[in-house]
Amino acid sequence: MSDRLPRLPSFYRLVAHDRIDSTSEEAKRLAASGAVEGTLVWAREQTAGRGRRGRVWSSPPGNLYVSLVLRPACAPGAAAQLGFAAAVGLGAALESLLPAGAGMLQFKWPNDLLVERRKIAGILLDASTGADGRLDWLILGIGVNIESFPDQTSYGATSLRDVGAGAVTVEQVLEVLGVHLLRTLDQWRREGFAPIRRQWLSHALGLGERIDVRLEQDTLSGRFVELSDSGALTLELPQGERRIIAAGDVFYPAL
């Protein structure tokens, strides 16, 4: 491990680990014991990295694993907006690292980041609501494939190295992410969800096209017609019925 810690805006309080179970679990533990907003847990390796619904997030050294403590004092229903803000910030950060000629960076609903239709980064959020019904804290977990990516996924994956970003280091990615993420979080605070939603839509993969959405016990096929004001996916089924989807995995039919 190099001794140089990444340089980050003063908003962040970096908590660096060589190895931990999960940066989000650690951030939750810290938040529960009063950690301030901006506390950023970073680990070079996770032994129990996780994704949605108990899935494993492959976490060998060489990739970025961070979890940020936020205390946005909003209603639980508004927390999803911060997931989109994070995706937009992370997207800007990765775009600045992609070489000329790399495929376009796109978002897969709600907040996966893809290059050439393959997943390069993911976001997962954990909320805790206080007795007053407001968010107590929100943990924003981010994983970025830099040196490697898992090859056994139900979707395609890739890494910054694989798309030609060369010798970019974890520290460099973290520094760039720190700046862009803070910018979009500030924009959300000042201007609300509308500009975040617009930026997300401008990079959305599959908008207007037929997609499959895998739910827990069912898969729906239809046209991805809209992102709702709360961030839900609006799917138009073949019979014309519209379904508003708050949770599921999006798949794109083969080209």
């Binding site: 639980p76 927390a79 839900a232």
Partner: protein, 150 residues
């Protein structure tokens, strides 16, 4: 006095909007009817004829003139948001709680997911799980009764 029919779907819609926008209060007026939904410890619903209420200071001791007819039962735990509810931490895992379980205050009862935000629903108080009104992976609306803890 004309009968004031509470439009439940409207109230629910307004409550959902309140939740989504993070506002503390929404007032909706049409002809002589007015519905105000405010956020407090619990969502309070006040409905009345517009004219007499117009001069009344907000919330000044006025009892709600009408309440939803399907007021949740005592001990009801409501969904704080629109989302998908999960009864267990991951598919195939044992549920967080079963009917008849004793739970401690703050113990996780369910998870509601919306756009990859995982929201554990804590027990508001210690007690016994009397009823579970949702099934795994079911979509829920804001204010839906998820379970009852007595």
């Amino acid at each position: 006095m004309p009968k004031f029919d509470v439009d439940e779907s409207l109230v629910r819609k307004l409550a959902g909007l309140l939740e989504e926008t993070g506002l503390n209060e929404i007032e909706y007026e049409i002809s002589d009817q007015r519905i105000r939904v405010t956020r407090g410890g619990a969502t309070m619903i006040a409905a009345a004829q517009a004219a007499p209420m117009a001069q009344a200071p907000a919330m000044a001791g006025a009892a709600p003139a009408a309440a939803p007819s399907d007021a949740p039962p005592a001990g009801a735990v409501l969904s704080p948001m629109v989302g998908t509810v999960y009864v267990s931490p991951e598919p195939g895992a044992p549920p967080y709680v079963k009917v008849g379980d004793q739970v401690a205050e703050g113990q996780t009862l369910l998870i509601v997911e919306a756009m990859k935000v995982m929201n554990p629903i804590p027990a508001p108080r210690a007690g016994k799980v009397e009823q579970i009104l949702v099934s795994d992976a079911q979509p829920v609306e804001y204010g839906d009764v998820l379970l009852v803890v007595q």
